[in-house]
């Protein structure tokens, strides 16, 4: 049983985003990191890139798989987690904390309302 904090919002493609923040962190869920296994490389977007909700913005790679990461909401990439360059394992160890991927300057706070809450996400992964 994996963890999914109540205060976050989720996509069914396993990304999470902080709620109610102008600049919101995005990452992948505990469930996703568990399925992927040890991450070895994370391709992050360039700061300043403008992305639409649902657009592929990053790639996380484990030994066996490479998965696209989609923007949960539209906005501009404000910051990326540079410490992942030297330690991609942070995502495995602390997916909701030091393993965040990037921060988005959210264009429309209402967009997040369309995302899943923790309970709905847990249901989507059959937990």
């Amino acid at each position: 049983m994996s963890e999914a904090p109540e205060e976050l919002r989720y996509r069914d493609s396993h990304e999470w985003i902080e709620l109610g923040k102008e600049i919101a962190a995005v990452g992948i869920t505990d469930h996703a990191q568990g399925e992927l296994g040890d991450l070895v490389y994370i391709e992050l977007p360039t700061v300043g890139r403008v992305v639409e909700a649902g657009e592929a913005v990053a790639v996380v790679e484990s030994v066996k798989a490479a998965s696209d990461i989609y923007a949960p909401v539209s906005g501009e990439v404000a910051e990326v987690n540079l410490s992942l360059e030297s330690d991609p394992g942070l995502v495995n160890g602390d997916p909701y904390g030091s393993g965040w991927l990037f921060r988005l300057r959210v264009r429309d706070a209402a967009e997040a309302a369309g995302l899943l809450d923790a309970a709905a996400y847990r249901a989507s992964i059959g937990e």
Binding site: G37, D38, L39, V40, Y41, E61, V63, K64, A66, G89
Partner: protein, 953 residues
């Protein structure tokens, strides 16, 4: 009188008694009854294949020798990327002719593949040293496809790129293949003069390719053009001759970011065009975009350095429709040979060889310069002299060459090219001068130390790593090769039950021709009059493969399965376009397909649309129908694998093909599983339009430890005009070349020819039937212990079976990888892991394994099941157990201290027969994540690593 060396009984693992025993276990009266239950009646072939009667081993070899005797051997100075080289006998005998090297599979199970992984790391180190670039892969298919791969790398960083600039001094075949690749992607290939390049003339140029030395032998200073390309943000790519790089400034030295080329000159025979290992090196910034296999260093469970395939998520079969390359299998055996060649000679030996070649070229050009009818004889950049000769003299020169058995390059521009090589002798030089009308005794003596202009001279160190200095006596080399061989598990040790890979016997008699000069010394561009033996071989093999598949035409050119897929899809593309149906660009591919399918489709310019599969792994016919209908106007192709990737003969295959045709699509059949069909059913008969064959699976070409492969395509008549072309065939085909040589890896076609000749129609059919019997026998023996997934309608599997290990994840915390590694302790290579379904093993026993070997393998699996049960029941620890800590090395077992909760004996000798054939894994379980997080892919890195890990190496 009947020959006594009939081959099928040697190829087939079981005779009548064992077949009867297996059938009785399955509760079946006969093999016929099994086949009727497995293969759908609607497609079952009722008449024998129309092939010549089977020949005995001796007779087949004699007939092949007779055919190949029609080849005319010449002293070959044709060049154009193929120059004669000398394979040291110690390498020929211990690697090329040694099943310990040539029968291994791609080193996915790294713990029992340390030998060839080490050799591939040596290869990568060799390439990085020659090119001056930081990262090199473990080989590509050939020089031209390597150039195309480099173009894809460049495009990946220039999403808006439109034009790829190619120097007009590149080899013609390289330009052709790059053009073939560029067309479906809507890219333009612009041939340019690098010295007067009008940069602004081209729309969004994204990369530039130059040849070094150039096609006509000139060594240009590419620094200015590379600097300008860099300023404009283009990717700079240099195609290089590795022997020239021994003496010349490295491509990194003039600003190339990517270097490609062929290692053929490092001891690999010409072989009528292949197989040869190509290389690709790049600067560090490109390492995550490099195509093909990459060997890296990680650590094992004891913290010692260990080798493995690194960054596999780059690869085509994982990226699927996002892939940017067309390579899966590479040329491992050839890369091993080339690395061994470099190690045997060492940097000093390589310099001597390169200097001698250069000195001979210089001596020739100087000798020709004095002749009044030689208008110009340009000083050789490295090894090639191109001479313009007076009107009327050309014929005389070519006649003299013919008379003396010398093959020159008759260039399109009227000049004559001579490329010197390692195999050339001093008397050849004298004869060359005579051929040009000079006085042989007046040949300038080759100066031993010919130097280059400072701008061209190599100044950077070459091969300083210890491994290139240690093995230069034959004794040391012989032992090194044996030592590495002993670390690998190949077919000469035990069965390799890899599903979808068809690890059948590679018989010695099929390999003999690879040691014959009339096979190995032929140049791919030699005139037709000199290659009559090969042409006969191609003609017969094409005819036989057409009979076996039911198709009308065959192209032997594609030199890997993935390239066959690509070529087959290009044929479909060409066909639609010829009918004005450019809009047909959707390729329907079931989600169960191998990853190369969507990758090849994208490369051929198609849009991939996945088709769902049902719970049984079969194509969801309703989903297919809905998608085909909805996109009727754009449907280009349906790509299917048969029997399915789940190892099942789908009943509805004929209907699926009809459905695709109804909406205007063509049917591409992935022939990876042809081993289950030969003699029982034919793709053309049930509705396919084109298929590729993996000669390295079904038709006995050994896997070589990860290549070479051959992926010919067979097609119906309406697609025949769109099979791969080649400049050597003239303008007769609408599709361009897909690889360097006209008949791809021609020399190893002798293997498949010999196999078919010795098996005959009946033997081939029996092989298929036995492959199916063996798979069903293994499934039956294992099913009380492991659930067998996916079966046909009547409850049978085809030629392979999938067993489910997922239940043990919950019950015992045991993963599929744990079982794979534990099998090594029993002396077995794991079946295919987690493909096509995660958490499963796919077992393909093939027809060549005896019942005794199948029983041993099953006993190993059953014993492992017992070990899992101990964990599940709590009798064994969930973390510290026989499986989690597998494989067990001799070193770990002999350590002073043993504190594990199980005995050493159980770890090493879990069943009695392991004592008779113990395989000792060279390293413990390898940490994959560590290796990918800290990428090291040269030997230098290993020593640094070993020092850091405080471990001896």
């Amino acid at each position: 009188m009947e020959a006594t060396d009939d081959f099928p009984r040697r190829h087939l693992g079981s005779g009548p008694a064992d077949i009867a025993a297996m059938l009785s276990q399955l509760g079946l009266p006969s093999l016929d009854a099994l086949i009727e239950a497995v293969v759908p009646e609607s497609i079952l072939l009722r008449s024998p294949l129309q092939l010549p009667a089977a020949l005995g081993e001796r007779e087949a070899v004699a007939r092949l020798r007779e055919i190949m005797a029609a080849n005319v051997r010449r002293r070959c100075f044709l060049g154009q990327g193929f120059a004669a080289s000398v394979m040291p006998a110690v390498i020929q005998r211990n690697v090329l002719e040694n099943p310990g090297w040539y029968t291994a599979y791609t080193p996915y199970q790294a713990e029992v593949a340390q030998g060839r992984l080490e050799m591939l790391l040596n290869f990568q180190t060799l390439v990085t040293s020659l090119t001056g670039l930081e990262v090199a892969n473990a080989s590509l298919l050939d020089e031209a496809t390597a150039a195309a791969e480099a173009m894809h790398m460049a495009l990946g960083t220039h999403p808006c790129g439109r034009t790829f600039l190619v120097s007009n001094t590149c080899f013609g075949h390289t330009i052709d293949v790059v053009r073939t690749r560029a067309a479906p992607l809507g890219l333009r290939v612009a041939l340019v003069d690098h010295e007067s390049l009008a940069w602004d003339e081209w729309e969004n140029p994204f990369g530039i390719l130059v040849q070094y030395p150039a096609e006509d032998g000139v060594v240009h200073d590419f620094r200015p053009v590379m600097d300008e390309a860099a300023r404009r943000g283009l990717t700079r790519i240099a195609a290089c001759d590795p022997l020239a790089l021994v003496l010349l400034r490295s491509p990194a030295g003039f600003g190339a970011e990517i270097a490609i080329g062929s290692m053929q000159r490092f001891g690999l025979p010409l072989g009528m065009g292949g197989p040869h290992a190509a290389f690709l090196a790049c600067s560090d910034a490109w390492k995550r975009r490099i195509p093909g296999r990459l060997v890296g260093v990680s650590r094992d469970s004891a913290g010692r350095p260990a080798f493995r395939l690194a960054l596999q998520t780059r690869e085509q079969h994982i990226r699927r429709d996002k892939a940017t390359s067309n390579i899966c299998t590479s040329q491992v055996l050839l890369a091993v040979l080339a690395a061994a060649y470099a190690m045997y000679h060492g940097p000093e030996g390589l310099r001597r060889i390169a200097r001698r070649v250069h000195a001979m070229a210089k001596a020739l050009s100087e000798s020709l310069r004095g002749l009044p009818w030689v208008e110009e004889a340009q000083a050789p950049g490295f090894d090639t002299v191109v001479a313009g000769v007076a009107e009327g003299r050309r014929e005389m020169i070519l006649e003299r060459a013919e008379k003396r058995g010398i093959l020159l390059h008759t260039r399109d521009d009227g000049r004559i090219g001579v490329t010197l090589n390692e195999a050339a002798r001093d008397e050849d030089l004298r004869e060359l001068v005579w051929v040009f009308g000079g006085a042989p005794e007046a040949v300038a003596t080759p100066a031993p130390e010919e130097e280059f202009a400072p701008a061209h001279r190599r100044t950077t160190p070459l091969l300083e790593e210890a491994v290139f200095h240690r093995y230069q006596t034959e004794t040391e080399m012989m032992r090194y090769l044996r030592r590495l061989e002993g670390r690998d598990l190949a077919l000469n040790v035990s069965m390799i039950p890899l599903g979808s890979c068809t690890m059948k016997l590679n018989a010695a008699s099929q390999m003999l021709a690879l040691s014959w000069p009339e096979v190995m010394e032929m140049h791919p561009f030699a005139p037709a009059s000199q290659i009559q033996g090969y042409l006969r071989l191609f003609e017969e093999l094409e005819r036989w493969l057409a009979v076996i598949t039911g198709f009308d035409a065959v192209s032997l050119q594609p030199n890997a399965g993935s390239q066959g897929e690509y070529a087959g899809l290009l044929a479909i593309r060409g066909y639609h376009r010829s009918r004005g149906e450019e809009r047909r660009n959707i390729c329907l591919i079931p989600v169960s397909a191998h990853g190369t399918n969507p990758a090849s489709a994208v490369m051929a310019g198609f849009r991939v649309m996945p088709v769902a599969c049902d719970r049984e792994g079969n194509i969801d016919a309703a989903d297919l129908a809905a998608k085909a209908e909805a996109h009727a106007g754009e449907l280009a192709a349906l790509m299917v694998t048969y029997p399915s990737t789940h190892g099942v003969f789908e009943e509805g295959i004929r209907e699926l093909c009809t459905l695709a045709h109804r909406y205007g699509g063509q049917v591409y059949l992935d022939g990876a599983n042809m081993n289950a069909q030969v003699g029982l059913c034919r793709p053309a008969d049930y509705g396919a339009d084109v298929c590729h064959l993996n000669l390295h699976k079904t038709f006995c070409i050994p896997h070589g430890g990860g290549g070479p492969g051959v992926g010919p395509i067979a097609a119906r008549a309406h697609l025949a005009p769109y099979l791969p072309g080649h400049r050597r065939f003239g303008g007769s085909r609408a599709t361009g070349a897909v690889c360097s040589a006209p008949w791809g890896s021609a020399s190893i076609l002798t293997i498949s020819w010999t196999y078919i000749a010795m098996m005959g129609a009946e033997g081939l059919r029996e092989a298929t039937r036995l492959a199916i019997l063996n798979a069903n026998y293994v499934a039956r023996r294992l099913e009380p212990y492991f659930p067998v997934l996916y079966r046909g309608e009547r409850g049978w599997v085809a030629h392979e079976c999938i067993i489910d290990l997922r239940p043990f994840r919950d019950s015992a915390g045991i993963e599929v990888e744990d079982v794979a590694k534990r099998l090594m302790d029993y002396g077995y290579h794991s079946p295919t892991m987690s493909w096509p379904v995660a958490g499963t093993l796919m077992i393909e026993p093939t027809e060549s394994e005896s019942k005794e070997e199948l029983d041993r393998f099953c006993e190993a699996m059953i014993a492992i099941h017992g070990e899992i049960v101990e964990v599940a029941s709590g009798a064994a620890d969930r973390k510290d157990n026989l499986l989690k800590r597998a494989p067990h090395t001799a070193e770990a077992l002999c350590a002073e201290v043993w504190e594990r909760p199980y005995s050493r004996e159980r770890a090493a000798f879990p069943v009695r027969w392991v004592r008779e054939n113990k395989v000792w894994p060279a390293v413990g379980r390898i940490d994959n994540a560590h290796g990918d997080r800290h990428l090291i892919c040269t030997c230098e890195g290993v020593s640094a690593y070993a020092a850091g890990a405080e471990a001896g190496y």
